[in-house]
């Protein structure tokens, strides 16, 4: 049998740069109150959300991704030609073929980087990060761009009291590259398809096309069931990720959970017994829930405001529709 030469990768991987794009239009709760019976006080107390950004026609999934990626590449101090892989996590790019990742890879000026989209809902960033780490350590790319991007406003039913106030748009990107020390810990991830009904698209596109349903599909959820799962099961997953990385709550500098709802964040902080010294991302207040984009967007903001700094140890956890989840410990870029 002929001998196949193995690929040779880097010893470890880490995040080298981060960038974000928030659409120009800021939408306060008052706008949400035009279509649902609610109040600013209720929305703030149940979710922490004060404002969110909604994209305009020019702020497409590709355009927002390119903006965020450009910043991440500059932050990493590399050039676009060095990027060997582009992974885009999104559920709100409405042209299924080709993958939007290819357009982004081209417009950024990569040298024909491998490019593909993944669908892992609000866990998409952690899924992408894990793939990127594998590609770098295995040797099929030196630098990989991981992008979380959503235009959830396109998939929001503004008359649905359970979700109208929740979602926002935006893009977050990181450059992952080679490292001499581990900069991304073991990923604790998984899926619970038996709970697929708790967050989902109302109907398939084909039902809408055939006229079977008149209303454009949107994301619906069983809020209480999702909340219970998040506060109970996801705190356990977060703890497992800390344990897997050999990091105690005291060692941790920053906690960046998926920005789904500030009440979930509060509950996790309590359950994990995080000390006061840990900086907690609360970007949801002004960004809403941007699914796959929420973790890199929150990361970018914490670093930009100085609340977190390069080299800090951060626990990240994403969770959502699937249900799916992914948690890991990273060194901040």
């Amino acid at each position: 049998m002929a001998k196949i030469k193995p690929s040779k990768g880097a010893p470890y991987a880490r995040i080298l740069g981060v960038g974000g794009y928030r659409p120009t239009r800021v939408v306060p709760n008052e706008v949400i109150l035009e279509t649902i019976d609610s109040s600013d006080e209720w929305i703030r107390s149940r979710s922490g959300i004060e404002t969110r950004h909604w994209a305009n026609d020019e702020e497409t999934v590709a355009a927002m991704s390119i903006e965020a990626s450009g910043k991440a590449i500059a932050d990493a101090g590399i050039s676009a030609e060095q990027i060997g892989g582009v992974i885009v996590s999104t559920v709100s790019h409405f042209k299924q073929t080709p993958a939007v990742a290819t357009e982004i890879a081209d417009k950024l000026g990569t040298a024909k980087a491998a490019a593909f989209d993944i669908s892992a809902g609000c866990a998409g960033f952690g899924y992408g990060l894990t793939l990127a780490k594998g590609m770098i350590v295995e040797g099929s790319a030196e630098y990989v761009l991981v992008i979380g991007v959503e235009r959830l406003s396109d998939l929001t039913d503004l008359e649905d009291r359970a979700t109208a106030f929740l979602f926002g748009d935006g893009a977050g990107a990181v450059v992952v590259g080679p490292a001499q020390e581990p900069g991304i810990g073991p990923t604790v991830w998984g899926s619970e398809g038996d709970k697929s009904e708790t967050i989902k698209q109302t109907v398939p596109w084909t039902d809408y096309r055939s006229g079977e349903v008149a209303k454009f599909p949107a994301i619906t959820q069983e809020g209480q069931a999702v909340f219970r799962w998040a506060v109970f099961e996801m705190a356990k997953v977060a703890k497992e990720a800390l344990d897997a990385a050999g990091i105690s709550a005291e060692d941790l500098d920053v906690f960046i959970p998926h920005q789904a709802n500030e009440r979930i964040i509060d509950s996790m902080v309590k359950t994990l017994k995080l000390p006061e010294s840990v900086t907690v991302a609360r970007d949801v207040r002004t960004t809403g829930n941007t699914s796959a984009a929420s973790i890199p967007l929150a990361m970018e903001r914490l670093l930009a405001t100085g609340e977190a700094k390069s080299g800090d140890t951060a626990l990240v956890i994403g969770f959502g529709a699937g249900l799916v989840y992914a948690a890991t410990v990273v060194t901040l870029p």
Binding site: S45, R46, E222, Q224, A225, F227, R228, V231, F232, R263, S267
Partner: protein, 82 residues
């Protein structure tokens, strides 16, 4: 061993204190979680999750909305504890 009514009320009082910061002595059988104890619908989910662990019961989502008072929750746990 199954918990008694007094033990369940005392346990719920500790849980409500932990989650909503209400003094334990305020948590009485006739008190409504939302109207008297400042436990909103999401805090109630946290109370239920904590009570499930503590008393070894399963309280499904569809039953949670029927637990209006501390007495309702206590009766439910008395009846369903494992």
């Amino acid at each position: 061993m199954a918990a008694t009514q007094e033990e369940i009320v005392a346990g719920l009082a500790e849980i409500v204190n932990e989650i909503a910061g209400i003094p334990v002595e305020d948590v009485q059988l006739d008190k409504s979680f939302t109207d008297d104890l400042d436990v909103d619908s999401l805090s109630m989910v946290e109370v239920v999750v904590a009570a499930e662990e503590r008393f070894d019961v399963k309280i499904p989502d569809e039953d949670v909305k029927n637990l209006k008072t501390v007495g309702d929750a206590t009766d439910y746990i008395l009846k369903h504890q494992g």
